[in-house]
Each structure stands twice: as C-alpha cells, then as structure tokens.
Amino acid sequence: MARSRSFRAYGLAVIGGILAGSGSALALSGLFPGFGAMSDGTVNLDGWKADFSTGSEAADPYTRARIARHGLLALARSEAVYFTRNTDDQGERLREGCRYRLSGGRMPAQWWSVTLYDAESRLPMNTDGALSLDASRAGEEAWSATIAPQAPDEGLWLSSRGGGQFDLTLRLYVPDARLIEDPAGTLAPPRVERLACAGGAT
C-alpha cells in the first residue's frame, strides 16, 4: 500500500514537472496563441522594440523560439531589421476602436515599410488594401498617415479594420551600418499619436 502511494507520488511529480516546465517554456518564448509577439527586445526606441539577433544562430533559445512562432523566415540584421510596437505614444495598447496619426521622416535604410498585424501576427482579415505603408508612397521626407478602421477623407491610410488589439512592424531593409551600432543616434522612429477613440475617449 505504502509502495503504491510512493509510486503514485513520483508519477504525479514527473507529470507535474513536465507540465510546469514545458508550460513555462512556451510562455517565456511567446508560443502560447494570442500573446507574446513582442519581446523585451535588445533595443527599445520610443516604444519600438527590436532584437538585432533575429535570424541568426546568435539569438538566445527563447528569442529563436519566439521568432520562429511570430517572425518565421525573418532576415538577419545586415539585410533587414524589424521594430515592433503595440502601444501608442502615451503607452496605451493600440486597438481597432481608436484613430491614430502615424508620422515620421527619412529612415536610415534603402527601403522601409510599416505594416499592421493583429494579435495573432496575421494581417487583419479585411479587403481595404491598406495594411502597409512603404517608402515609395510616403516619400523621402516628413510623412504622416492615419491608422483607423475607416479611410480618412484625405491622406495616407493604414486600415485597422478587423485588427482588434493590433501592433505595427517597421521594416528597414538594407539598414545603414550605423543603425546597428548606434540605433538611438541613427533612427528617429515613427510617432503614434492617439487622436480619438470610439465613445469619445482619447
């Protein structure tokens, strides 16, 4: 009887340990569906976060697991760097029910784009054809665009329709070498200013 209880205790210990260990690994790597697309990141510029080890074997195991889940087939930093943010300039979570002004200027790269993704790291399921803004449309100097579920009366538009709680990814292709060495001194990242929210709150 005592031997049976002991056997059961060890069995439960193994099962509990495996569940806790694998569960904590999935959580720390952002592998549970619906959260964890963002890392703490090695670089944080005004809320835009990037991990410059993306795509390389130098990335730590947690980063590699998270990138595999949320950024599979991402390029190494010499070819492209990826900044992501899910909050506005006031630190509030980006959400479909609000309207934002996205603005910026020249970027230290051969080509850049800003793309909107939902919490599952997918393009929101809409047919607006307005999920990305790139250098060819924004121009070389100061630019701004509206992020909202409906098109603005004028100007550039990023559609958040169907995005729920969304995030933005800034891609910088063929980045200047200085960006890797001194990101804060090289990149002035786009601002995300909240203009209004459904129900009147801002």
Partner: protein
Amino acid sequence: MKRWLGPLVVAVIAGVAAHVATVQAAPAFIMGRAIHAMEQRGVPLHAFSLAPRTTPQTQTVVRPSPDLAYSVCRYDFDQLDGPLTVRMAAWDNYASVSFFDGETNNFLTLRGDGKEREVVLHGPALVSSLEYRSPTTKGLILIRRLAPTQADYDRVTGVSASDLCSADPFPASPSALEPQP
C-alpha cells in the same frame, strides 16, 4: 515532510528538463511544420514557386509583408545526390535570396542589386569551408522582391520564371558568384 522531498526533487528535475527540451526543440518543430504546410499547399521540392500576391486572404506565414513578392523553394539533401543550384533572376528594385536551415537560422543571404545571382548549395556533409553549405538536410530558400503594386507583382510573375532551384547544374554564366570562405 521528508517523504515529499524525493517527489519534489523529481518534479524539479523533470520540469527543468522539459523546459530546456521545449525551448530547444521549438524552432525545428515550427520550421518542420512550416515546410510540411508548404508541401501540403503544393510548393514543390527543388523548384521555386511564386506565392500569390500577399493579402489577408492569401497569407500563409506569420507577418508577411504585403509590399513584397515571395518565391519559395523547399530543399532536402536526403533526396539529392549532389549540390543544389539556385538562381535568382535580376529585378530592378530591392531583391534578395535568403537561405534558412531546418532550425530557422538564416545562414546565407545575397542581395540582388539589380543583377542575377547564382549559388551552388551543398548539403551538411560537406566539410570544405570554400563552398556554401546548409547546416541541416532540409530547409527553405526565399526570394523577396519589392513589389508594392499589382503592376509590380505582375512584372515579378514574368521575371520569376527565370528563377532556378534544381539538382541540375546550371549552364555557365558570367554572373555566377565565386564561393566565399
């Protein structure tokens, strides 16, 4: 209290082992699933396939860029007797061909800069450091071409017909890259 000490130690050991194994195995597991999903969608082995223009309705991987046209080739050195020959046809805007091993590592990327690029890729058994070598037997090769408009994508459709991912050697080409150490 003492009788719980043994199970407690076992639980901690099992937890640490499961934690490390899960984190280490995740990239290969996810990459394996991605390669399998591409196979299920008809992406051929050892041939490039141009993906439909990226939209919410056609997306097949996480975080695709709607501004890029993607061509993908699956490779498996277990099913090759020799190296893989890869060619990216010239594109007049940003283009790159990038190689990913079975654990998601981007082990090689070549930029187009308006020119055709050619690579001879060897399997992991190769010991020479003078050739391009895949760290794992399976992997993916991805060509990205900047094509923000439908007209650009339509042009990619024509250009990408000259892309090559094959077990056959390519004909001599003056633009072939010299291997780098």
